[in-house]
């Protein structure tokens, strides 16, 4: 294989200097001048109620108030996969804190004051906060209009119920599979809701100018998708796609929360009522918790049958998702898990039912991992328990079942090449799986846990990415893409790919977050797909530019094109050792001929990528027949923990995680994803816990009461391992790995807790308090 100069090397981030000097500009850092208006929303104080009347007269009297808008001003529904969401509540509110109206004023203070004076008359309705209750016959309907909502063809809503989607998978003969089993374990696991907790709030500023141009500046993972959804939702106002421009500055963390469209549409809509003025909608920490997306909660009933040697004979997985008040995005989490809830195993007989259930809680939506953390908690706990019951080493149990390239997934498509077995071996070796570390004191218990993981990008089959590449006079490059650097290092990786093809150093490639008017199309920065998808587009754009360079040089210098190559920004020829033409001499100005004329002109590459083999067309009763997932990224992880029996406090001593990213374009960035994802995973299992009161109001929407880890809470040691089994259609073999890193954490810690204390925890989080309570009731006495 040819030697790579930029790909596979840990280049310094292209946004590194901006970020360590405070030069990086985030949405709320932008200046909009003295004409900027501020909007404050009015929130509903009921989880479920009809809106009888809204009186804005007192609010309008506050000096500085420009206008008050309500749902009546914007009777439009929108959504990414299902149009069940509204800019402002229409006739009813469906979760505590939902936006009813907004006040627009000259100052934030006036807007806040006036928002408190908007009088809303409600008739409370019975609320449903438990997904299993919402399924009961005769349960109150949260969306009586479900049958009228437009949705993607791969959703199957059940009008007249609270089921927004049911993903059903049937493979092989499950009954026979269980009949052949020597041992069957059946149990229920619960994973509650979680919050993303990006440190930057959601922020959006919109301006609808007098020419009909709508510009939105937003902290966003999805500038083009936002443009699309704004244009579609506001089409009745005469707004077209080319009227809408979304500009996305740096994003202070996303983790899924800034994907699709949530509060940004409020700014876009309000702007149409205050023509000519920019208007800012800035969320606060409380709303970050209860009015963006939350990670969906799930009750997962799992039945797994195995032979006495541990081989899986059949699986049945029923997942009941608490998807919240609106599921326009969250229903696809349910769908993705439905397709993949066999985990990274070869399972010949499987039946999966994944139900998307409306509840009167905040909208569930995308969160790093897209449902896989949730089902893996149960599945990987189950694998460990079965191994222990059968007396098989839990790592061997996984080896015996781990999926290989060419095995069939639950929906019948072939598994992609992958390094799962290498990952298992590498992790087992690094964690010293067969050694038992000793505890540091008599009250301490040590435990080890293991987990596998897999995840595919969940996206429409025609998801695409594109790239423009343009040279400057000095052969530096502007690389225009519309993926977002959320911190993962996307822009740097794109620059490295272009650098590799064009022999231009990364430091000479400028690539920044997009403006939808200037940068070409990208679906969204979600699903860990941009390194792979947009990376392919960048590679093609660079190859396109290189082809133009070679064609021009061949034509102007009468050289055979196929003998030309690039080295350190110079075009060279294999058979003419003396020939050396620096890029900077011609990539803008062209090449001068003997007669004084010039050939060529500015070199501009273009590239796009769409996975043309993907399809969601399948039998809805079995999910067989399509190719909904382009590929899976797999890996393994293990942990050593120590638990204080007196306090229940868990200390994470060592974590090893191996992920098969196909090719690490920038190994340091891959390791950064592993280190960061592991801590986010640890946080969900050990610390974070949402509390709701009897009204459905979240009680702890702040960092004082909803704990995320500090530097004092990190593991003693984290060992990231990179496995590279190339993805056949990935750029340099790369596939995504950003979300995946947190997937194995919760189950492997639950497994380690059982290893240490003999206690099996089947619901998350597993806080010190829960461990203490379980220890009190536990029959197993501490040794000594």
């Amino acid at each position: 294989m040819e030697e790579l100069k930029y790909v596979g090397h840990s280049a310094v981030r292209v946004d590194g200097k901006e970020k360590v000097t405070g030069a990086a500009v985030y949405t709320d850092d932008l200046e909009f001048g003295p004409d900027l208006l501020y909007a404050e929303i009015v929130e509903g104080p009921h989880a479920h109620a009809m809106i009888r009347a809204i009186d804005t007269s007192e609010a309008m009297k506050v000096p500085g108030v420009i206008c008050v808008v309500t749902g009546q001003d914007f009777p439009y529904n929108f959504g990414l996969y299902m149009k069940d969401r509204f800019i402002f509540a229409q006739d009813r509110v469906r979760f505590f804190g939902e936006q009813i109206a907004a006040v627009v004023a000259r100052t934030p203070q006036a807007a806040k004051k006036a928002a408190r004076l908007v009088q809303v008359n409600y008739s409370p309705l019975p609320k449903v906060v438990c997904p299993l209750e919402a399924l009961r016959e005769g349960a109150d309907l949260i969306h009586p209009d479900l049958k009228h909502y437009e949705h993607v063809p791969w959703f199957f809503p059940k009008p007249g119920t609270n089921v927004a989607h049911h993903r059903k998978v049937r493979k092989g003969d499950v009954e026979q599979g269980f009949a052949k089993a020597d041992y069957i374990l059946e149990d229920t696991y619960e994973v509650p809701r979680y919050a993303h907790c990006a440190i930057e709030y959601h922020a959006a500023v919109a301006k609808y100018d007098h020419s009909g141009r709508l510009t939105v500046w937003a902290s966003s993972q999805s500038p083009h998708t936002q443009r699309n959804l704004f244009a579609n939702a506001l089409a009745p106002l005469g707004i077209k796609h080319n009227d809408v421009r979304v500009i996305a500055p740096h994003v202070g963390g996303g983790f899924g929360s800034k994907a699709g469209v949530t509060m940004e549409i409020i700014a876009a809509a309000i702007a149409t009522r205050v023509k000519g003025h920019p208007v800012k909608v800035l969320w606060n920490r409380e709303r970050e918790f209860y009015n963006t997306y939350q990670r969906l909660g799930v009750v997962a009933k799992l039945k797994l049958g195995v032979k006495s040697d541990g081989r899986i004979t059949a699986l049945h997985h029923s997942l009941f998702w608490d998807a919240g008040a609106y599921v326009e995005y969250g229903a696809n989490v349910v769908n993705a898990v439905g397709l993949s809830a066999i985990g990274p195993y070869r399972v010949d007989n499987a039946s999966i039912d994944s139900y998307c259930i409306y509840t009167n809680l905040p909208p569930g939506g995308p969160y790093r991992g897209f449902g896989y953390s949730e089902f893996l908690f149960g599945l990987e706990s189950h694998m460990e328990r079965i191994a222990k019951h059968l007396g098989i080493d839990p790592v061997d149990m996984r080896r015996r079942n781990a999926i290989r390239a060419g095995d069939l997934t639950a929906y019948g498509a072939k598994m992609n090449p992958n390094g799962l077995h290498q990952a298992i071996d590498a992790v087992a070796k690094e964690i010293r799986w067969h050694e038992t570390p000793s505890p540091s004191g008599p009250d301490m218990a040590i435990g080890k846990g293991f987990s596998l993981f897999w995840k595919a990008p969940a996206m429409p089959p025609n998801t695409s990415s594109s790239c423009f590449l343009k040279f400057n006079e000095d052969a530096s490059i502007n690389l225009l893409v519309s993926g977002m650097d959320l911190g993962q290092g996307f822009l740097t990786v794109m620059a490295q790919i272009a650098a590799e093809i064009l022999s231009v150093p990364v430091s000479k490639i400028r690539t920044e977050n997009p403006d939808t008017d200037r940068n070409p199309y990208e679906w969204q920065t979600v699903a860990s797909h941009v390194t792979w998808g947009c990376g392919n587009a960048v590679k093609r754009a660079a190859l396109d530019a290189r082809e133009q360079i070679f064609s021009l040089v061949a034509r102007a210098h009468d050289l055979p094109k196929d003998l030309l190559y690039l080295e350190d920004e110079v075009v060279k020829c294999k058979e003419r050792p003396g020939f050396a033409l620096p890029l900077k001499d011609f990539v803008i100005y062209g090449i001068q001929m003997e007669d004084g004329t010039f050939k060529g002109g500015p070199i501009m590459g273009r590239g796009m990528f769409m996975p043309e083999y993907a399809s969601t067309k399948a039998d809805p009763e079995t999910s067989q027949g399509g190719h909904p997932n382009v590929h899976y990224t797999v890996g393994a992880a293990a942990v050593i923990i120590e638990i204080d029996r007196q306090t229940g406090r868990v200390r994470v001593k060592k974590v090893v995680e191996a992920v098969d990213c196909g090719k690490a374009i920038n190994p340091k960035l891959v390791e950064g994803q592993i280190t960061g994802g592991i801590l986010q995973g640890i946080s969900t299992v050990l610390y974070e816990e949402m509390k709701f009161d009897h009204r459905g109001k979240m009680l702890n929407p702040n960092f004082t009461d909803y704990k995320i880890p500090t530097a004092l809470d990190i593991p003693d040691e984290v060992i990231p391992l990179i496995i590279e089994v190339p993805e056949p259609d990935g750029p340099y073999g790369a596939r995504g790995m950003g979300e995946h890193t947190m997937l194995p954490v919760a189950p492997m810690i639950a497994n380690a807790i059982e290893d240490a204390l003999g206690i099996r925890m089947k619901s998350m989080p597993i806080t010190a308090e829960k461990i203490c309570l379980a220890l009190t009731g536990s029959k197993k006495q501490p040794e000594k």
Partner: protein, 152 residues
């Protein structure tokens, strides 16, 4: 409104503030200094950290009127003469991801090492324990700090 004057990044500045105005908001919205960020408004996250008379403080918990006659340093001021060794180490190691916590984190550590050039691991962790980061898992940041503070 009251006119206050204070030294901001080495320059004497004056600004009119109401008694209830918060330092973070005055810096960001009245003085154009944008590196201090808001991530909670309750003193939990540390993104608004600035250095007040040599000490790292949370500017979201301070009334602007209180800083009359005092000295404030933000990341803009720290970066005036190029990168400090701390900033360079953080950059070279790709320690940050989204970068939103970076200004506060850098100022907290700057404050630590100005009085304690060779802090222990625990002191390093303590110094940034009030700066929440959701991306990095903290370890890459700690490694960069260790690199520039270890005894040669």
């Amino acid at each position: 409104m009251k006119k206050i004057s204070f030294t901001l990044n080495g320059e004497l500045r004056q600004v009119d503030v109401a008694p209830n105005e918060i330092l973070l908001e005055v810096l960001r919205y009245k003085m154009g200094v944008k590196s201090p960020k808001c991530g909670c408004d309750t003193g939990d996250c540390g993104a608004c950290t600035v250095i007040l008379n040599g000490k790292a403080v949370r500017s979201c918990l301070i009334f602007a009127i209180e800083i009359n006659g005092q000295e404030i340093l933000t990341l803009e001021g720290l970066s005036k003469d190029g990168l400090t060794p701390l900033q360079k180490a953080l950059m070279d190691r790709n320690a940050f991801q989204c970068g939103y916590c970076a200004p506060g984190m850098i100022l907290s550590v700057t404050c630590l090492i100005s009085g304690n050039p060779h802090p222990s691991e625990e002191e390093i962790k303590e110094s940034i324990a009030g700066n929440l980061c959701r991306c990095t898992g903290y370890q890459p940041v700690i490694d960069a700090i260790r690199q520039i503070t270890k005894k040669q």
